[in-house]
Amino acid sequence: MNDSIKVLLVDDEEEFVTTLAERLEMREFDPSIATSGDQALSMVQDKGFDLIVLDLMMPGIGGLEVMKQIKSVNPDMPIILLTGQGSTKEGMEGMNQGAFDFLMKPLDIEELISQIHEALGKTSA
């Protein structure tokens, strides 16, 4: 049920995002990765992603700014934020600005998948 879901994973920790993509691929998602906000913005313009998983704190353009720019072009794009902060403050702020939800790092992949399905209005397997 996941093979048509195109997910863009955005995080500057390359090993994290690459491994997460592999794990999603093993669950029959169609993931792509970006390791910076700039790269994510250029990829979003060209490819039809169903959903974006976006780290809040990255070098250069931070997650909230990336989300703002994506939402200005595609207000319906579901975005799940990732935060390495110990508090929920930044994640809540992101939700106020239009994120579907946020998850704390290190994350639980089953929780991420459940969030992806929920954001896309699908029922988890």
Binding site: T19, M58, G60
Partner: protein, 220 residues
């Protein structure tokens, strides 16, 4: 709580938040790598062969991240002991390297390079208050980061100036502001005010080279 204590706690808070954020990134990589290994082990043994290399890579990633975490913990532990003594002997060049490894992420988040440098073969021993020295270096960095655009470089150079030990903070970059804009920006930043106050506590003189993007902390 008096103002000095508040200032010190705020400094420790920012350093701790920075390092624990890095720790969470390390744990996130370890978690995903271990998860991927678990996923591979859950595949039927007959189909598992094609994932062998990826399994081994994940194991190596975990080892590398553990090493990264241990080095970070050691650096942070050393930093946490800076308030232990009001006065201690330090080698300035080595202290700059330690400070830069602790704070490199602040610069990286702005796409700015931070590095420590020293005059060749010159060992500079100083007796100073370690905590105040780290605070002065932190405010110097914070002030520079507030005015420099991405792709610039900040170098902390341990040196001798007029027979005193000194740290030269030198900034470069194609998009860097003019010296006039640079110093105006520095002086308008909150960090600069903290830097002046803390430098005075440390009995360090702050000397700006207005022809260039650099200033000195002269440790007396």
């Amino acid at each position: 709580m008096n103002q000095e204590t508040e200032k010190t706690l705020a400094f420790f808070g920012r350093m701790t938040a920075n390092l624990t954020h890095e720790f969470k990134n390390i744990l996130a990589i370890i978690q995903e790598s271990a998860g991927l290994m678990e996923d591979i082990m859950a595949i039927s043994p007959l189909a598992r062969d094609k994932y062998q290399e990826r399994f081994n890579n994940s194991m190596n990633t975990i080892k590398n991240q553990l090493q990264r975490g241990m080095e970070m913990a050691s650096r942070f532990n050393r930093f946490a002991h800076t308030p232990d003594h009001n006065s201690a002997e330090l080698e300035l060049g080595e202290t700059m390297v330690h400070f830069c490894t602790l704070t490199e992420r602040f610069a990286r988040l702005k796409h700015i390079t931070l590095q420590a440098d020293s005059q060749k073969g010159q060992e500079i021993k100083i007796t100073t208050n370690p905590l105040l020295l780290y605070m002065v270096l932190f405010y110097s960095l914070d002030a520079c980061l507030s005015v420099l655009p991405a792709q610039c470089e900040i170098r902390l150079i341990s040196a001798k100036k007029d027979e005193n030990a000194a740290v030269k903070i030198a900034c470069t970059g194609k998009q860097a502001p003019s010296p006039e804009q640079f110093f105006t920006g520095l002086r308008q930043s909150n960090a600069w005010g903290e830097l002046e106050n803390t430098a005075a506590q440390l009995n360090a003189e702050l000397k700006c080279n207005t022809d260039d993007l650099c200033f000195y902390l002269i440790l007396k």
